[in-house]
């Protein structure tokens, strides 16, 4: 018989830690001590929390584990990108990509095991959906990363759709950006979505982190073929929501645009993009398509991507071309998958 799994402390917000202390009959200030040990001193066990009374630690240990879990595998790309494999509490697997550049070190974290969204161009979608990650499992990808002290930016662009697991994502963002937690600037964190509107509204109202939206074509009919979500949350409505929100001067919205040969890389697309994004202060990131098995899609050539960038820049939209990183270890955009491991487990 499997031993009953204890609840995890890591990933609980200050409010949730306060509830834990209240339930266990511990002094209310123990919540601050717990947050300090978990998120500032980054201990891995309850035993190490030495300013909490022995009785208190025993009560905590009887019901909780910290929930810290080191990566079980790492692959290193020729370009320096590293892909880490983490095991979740349910015995499933997620991948996390560490992308070092000269001026910034970015970590691309996962929010779900697999994904329900079924985008035609994405490897994660091909494994279906297995589980939501808890807030702790999301932050553990950062906490347990060997390079954690080097990180400058966090992007929620790994496996899963963050707004399909928004409670855990919002809790993780609170812990990352709050004083009791990691104290990171929200300007260093970007959450990417395909545009689940109820989640988008909640995220905009309850977080100060940057927003990225996977756009990929400005035309509704084309987007439906690439992204089933378009049937229920069409891009036009997503843009209406974004347009009606005051992003202020610090918060940024960007649009991700994977370039597919002959499908979304024409002057007609650039013209329509500039039309539908009119009135939104934003930038567009053009992304080279990384082919996945059995895909009917082809990536645009380099010159086409550069021409497309120029067309958008000429229309006044700041447009960058994202460098492909970690393609040789399947760490690049759209390639994360633990499908084979899921089958074996």
């Amino acid at each position: 018989m499997m031993p009953e799994q204890r609840e995890f402390l890591f990933g609980k917000t200050y409010t949730q830690l306060t509830t834990v202390c209240k339930d266990l009959g511990l002094p209310s200030f123990t919540a601050s001590q717990l947050a300090d040990w978990l998120y500032k001193k980054q201990v891995a066990t309850i035993d190490e929390m030495t300013n909490i009374s022995k009785t208190g630690r025993e009560k905590l240990a009887a019901r909780f584990d910290t929930g810290i879990s080191a990566p079980s595998k790492v692959q290193v790309s020729s370009d320096g990108t590293k892909k880490y494999l983490y095991t979740t509490s349910g015995g499933k697997f997620i991948e996390t990509a560490y992308i070092p550049e000269t001026n910034r070190k970015t970590l691309c974290v996962s929010s779900q095991v697999g994904c329900k969204m079924g985008c035609l161009f994405c490897m994660t979608g091909k494994q279906g959906f297995q589980a939501n990650l808890s807030s702790g499992e999301i932050i553990n990808q950062i906490r347990s990363l060997p390079e954690r002290d080097l990180l400058t930016n966090i992007v929620y662009m790994g496996m899963g759709e963050p707004f399909d697991n928004l409670d855990a994502v919002l809790d993780s963002l609170e812990i990352l950006t709050s004083e009791y937690g990691y104290g990171m600037s929200p300007k260093r964190i970007t959450v990417s979505t395909i545009g689940i509107i109820p989640g988008l509204k909640r995220f905009l109202d309850n977080s100060k982190c940057h927003l990225a939206v996977s756009l990929h074509t400005p035309f509704d009919e084309e987007r439906r073929k690439l992204m089933p979500v378009e049937h229920v949350y069409p891009l036009s409505k997503v843009l209406d929501e974004i347009r009606s929100f005051d992003f202020g001067r610090q918060r940024r919205v960007s649009f991700e645009y994977i370039m597919f040969k002959g499908l979304n890389d024409t002057a007609r697309h650039a013209k329509e993009l500039s039309r539908i994004l009119n009135g939104i202060k934003c930038r567009i990131n053009l992304i080279r398509f990384h082919p996945i098995p059995d895909t009917p899609l082809e990536g645009s050539g380099r010159q086409t991507i550069e021409d497309f960038q120029q067309m958008l820049n000429n229309k006044g939209i700041t447009t960058t071309i994202r460098q492909s990183r970690g393609q040789d270890i399947y760490a690049a955009c759209g390639l994360l998958s633990t499908k084979e491991l899921v089958k074996e487990s």
Binding site: G118, L120, I196, P198, P228, H231, V232, D240
Partner: protein, 222 residues
């Protein structure tokens, strides 16, 4: 009402019935308060504190009631409460929205589980001409609306049963059926509805059979 907010504004509705048709699977009905296009979804919840989830409408466009087919997820946030609702109790419902609507012929509909809902809505709305439905389930009792579908679609209704050997049913999953089927027309439309796993696997098979991805329309439950 702002069109932009149609799906987020919830109206109070009285439940007409909420029947458990087989263990864990329910059909909930309430008086139709709006017009809709077959294939559209509505957001449903039992209280403003619980995020509304999307369900395909399973009734015909002129039916007096709206029917919703759903399964109770034991550790879910909504469906345990939803399954306890009785006649006369209140439900919160959005206006219909979505564009998973079949306007082209001929077409194939491929569904598993409660994913059959948009197609039964189309059939109940009189959309049957040149339609072929491939429905997948594990057991005989899980082929929801089977009698009605058989009557409407006759030999254009294919049941794939993966958990039992039944006469007249294809033995295996819908994906097994599609792999075995030699006559998948490349110029037909294909509408898929069900879990992410089913939809992505089915889509891959169709693409491998030279069906252009522009002819494949998917609806995924999330």
């Amino acid at each position: 009402m702002s069109d932009k907010l149609t799906h987020t504004i919830l109206r109070k509705i009285k439940v007409n019935s909420n029947e458990e048709i087989i263990p864990g699977i329910f059909i909930l009905k309430f008086k139709r308060p709006f017009t809709f296009i077959p294939g559209q979804v509505i957001g449903i919840t039992t209280s403003e504190q619980i995020t509304a989830r999307l369900y395909s409408i399973a009734s015909g466009k002129d039916d007096p009631d709206i029917s919703i087919l759903y399964n109770r997820v034991e550790d879910g946030k909504l469906t345990p409460d939803l399954s306890r609702l009785r006649k006369g109790e209140t439900l919160l419902v959005s206006d219909p929205f979505g564009s998973f609507t079949d306007t082209r012929i001929p077409s194939w509909w491929i569904a598993t589980g409660t994913g059959v809902a948009p197609f039964i809505s189309m059939i109940r709305s009189g959309i049957t001409e040149q339609k072929t439905l491939v429905q997948g389930a594990r057991t005989r009792e899980s082929f929801y609306f089977s009698g009605e579908l058989e009557k409407s679609l006759e030999n254009h209704y294919i049941r794939c049963c993966s958990g039992e050997n039944l006469t007249g049913y294809f033995p295996g999953r819908v994906t097994d059926f599609l792999v075995a089927e030699n006559n998948l027309p490349t110029d037909n439309m294909y509408y898929l509805c069900g879990s992410a796993e089913m939809v992505v696997s089915t889509r891959d098979i169709l693409i491998s059979r030279n069906i252009p991805f522009s002819n494949i329309v998917s609806e995924i439950y999330f």
